[in-house]
Symmetry: C2
Subunit: 293 residues, 2 copies
Amino acid sequence: MTERTTPDDITAAVLASFARSPDERLGTLMRALTTHLHAFVKEVGLTEEEWRAAIGVLTDTGHITTGTRQEWILWSDALGVSMLVDALANRDPAGRATESTVQGPFYVPGSPLRAYGDRLDERPAGEPLWVHGTVRSLDGRPLAGAELDVWQNGDNELYAVQDADAPENHLRGRFLTMDDGGYAFLTVRPTPYPIPYDGPVGHMLSATGRHPWRPAHIHVIVRAAGYRPVTTHVFDRESKHIDGDAVFAVKPSLLRDLTAHPASDPGRPAALSDHAGPWWSLASDFVLAPAPA
Amino acid sequence: MTERTTPDDITAAVLASFARSPDERLGTLMRALTTHLHAFVKEVGLTEEEWRAAIGVLTDTGHITTGTRQEWILWSDALGVSMLVDALANRDPAGRATESTVQGPFYVPGSPLRAYGDRLDERPAGEPLWVHGTVRSLDGRPLAGAELDVWQNGDNELYAVQDADAPENHLRGRFLTMDDGGYAFLTVRPTPYPIPYDGPVGHMLSATGRHPWRPAHIHVIVRAAGYRPVTTHVFDRESKHIDGDAVFAVKPSLLRDLTAHPASDPGRPAALSDHAGPWWSLASDFVLAPAPA
């Protein structure tokens, strides 16, 4: 009687098939993927029914994904893979540069350049928020001419790219720092919002008792010539879901306090001249590490 | 200064998010998936560029998949996951029942019932092959009325379901065993064929120095009341690629010898009466284990 073929025989055969990859890195990736994927299947004793369900989830994910809906990135975000890849790419031995976090699926390149102190919102979108701070190098020198590429949601929980009714450049823009490294802009207070939950990722979240919410934040990419750019968030420390971000993007160093200002506050920025009520402010500095040689 | 967030912090946060899954098995699956997926990303140090490439491959796989083209099953096959799930589902402690192997993407339920000794091909498709044998229980008793659900490719390398020009039931059919457990049918010698290689799986195969070929085989599902059905292949032991099946489905116990018969062989089956030349024959018995209680 011929010997039976075991699960480990199968794993060994697949690993051997990748032994002669002309692209060495790809061979390494496929062997490691095989090892960990097979270890997963063996550890849980994946059944044929569960395998069929998995094929169904992959098929559904493929079909809901379009040019504007990226369910694969949502899977990567919801399983913490996006944050993990970001963490591996942005180890900062010095430990003083601004930490990075996920870019997310709503970034659109080519935001308009706006002037110091200009507004980000192009239609009513929530409570006024004055954001300001300084961009510096690791050794504390202010960086003039650094660029902040900013995008965020409004109080309808949507980014402009998700909202057919919003002006194209609503709640997004680029700002350059002044000679003293300072920047400032007027925007609205961001609100928590759910990641799209009407597809396979949403089904997984509800089936496992998770929620789709992200705490309130503003996205920023900070760039300066000669420095390593950083893709990050400014989080509202008091936001709902700050301890349970659906995509695991919160880092303690990225939390900021929003300060409430009464209407009578004499520090009211001139940009707020057409708004009579109270407002919020937020100070956030950014520190860039030098670009790799 | 706030402490930095490490890769292990991220993994721990994702695992914690699945701690309260109301579906306990799903919670186990998602935690194990997270553990092994994160271990893969950390082990290879997956770069942002590689992550973007992976999102692209997933997106492309989703978009090439249709009702008749299942690229996700191809990935599962080409990475040995299909065989692994099959091996876990079909452990046979007795070690004497016929071993299972992958079903593959070309099975179509509802093949026509054909009589003992009838032909499987409905148009010319290659060299004649007489297939015969017996279906038995573990203790050697012949099983009468067992069903063999058979499908295979012809010499154009295609299954009927892939070939718009082929009759719907070409090279597929069901046969019942006689009182002595015997079955027989006339077909054509199957040829090696490539799995579909014009999509993401094909790109992976060529980029890693692998080929898309499967060795020649006939698919059979054997079913009998009171017995555990087995989904398996009969492989041509002498086939090209028998040592390098692209989907890792070859098991030594499934190899069979094809015997060449000259035109003058007096053992010529009556079913071959309209064919004057030489032919092949193949004997293959099947052994079924009892159905689980």
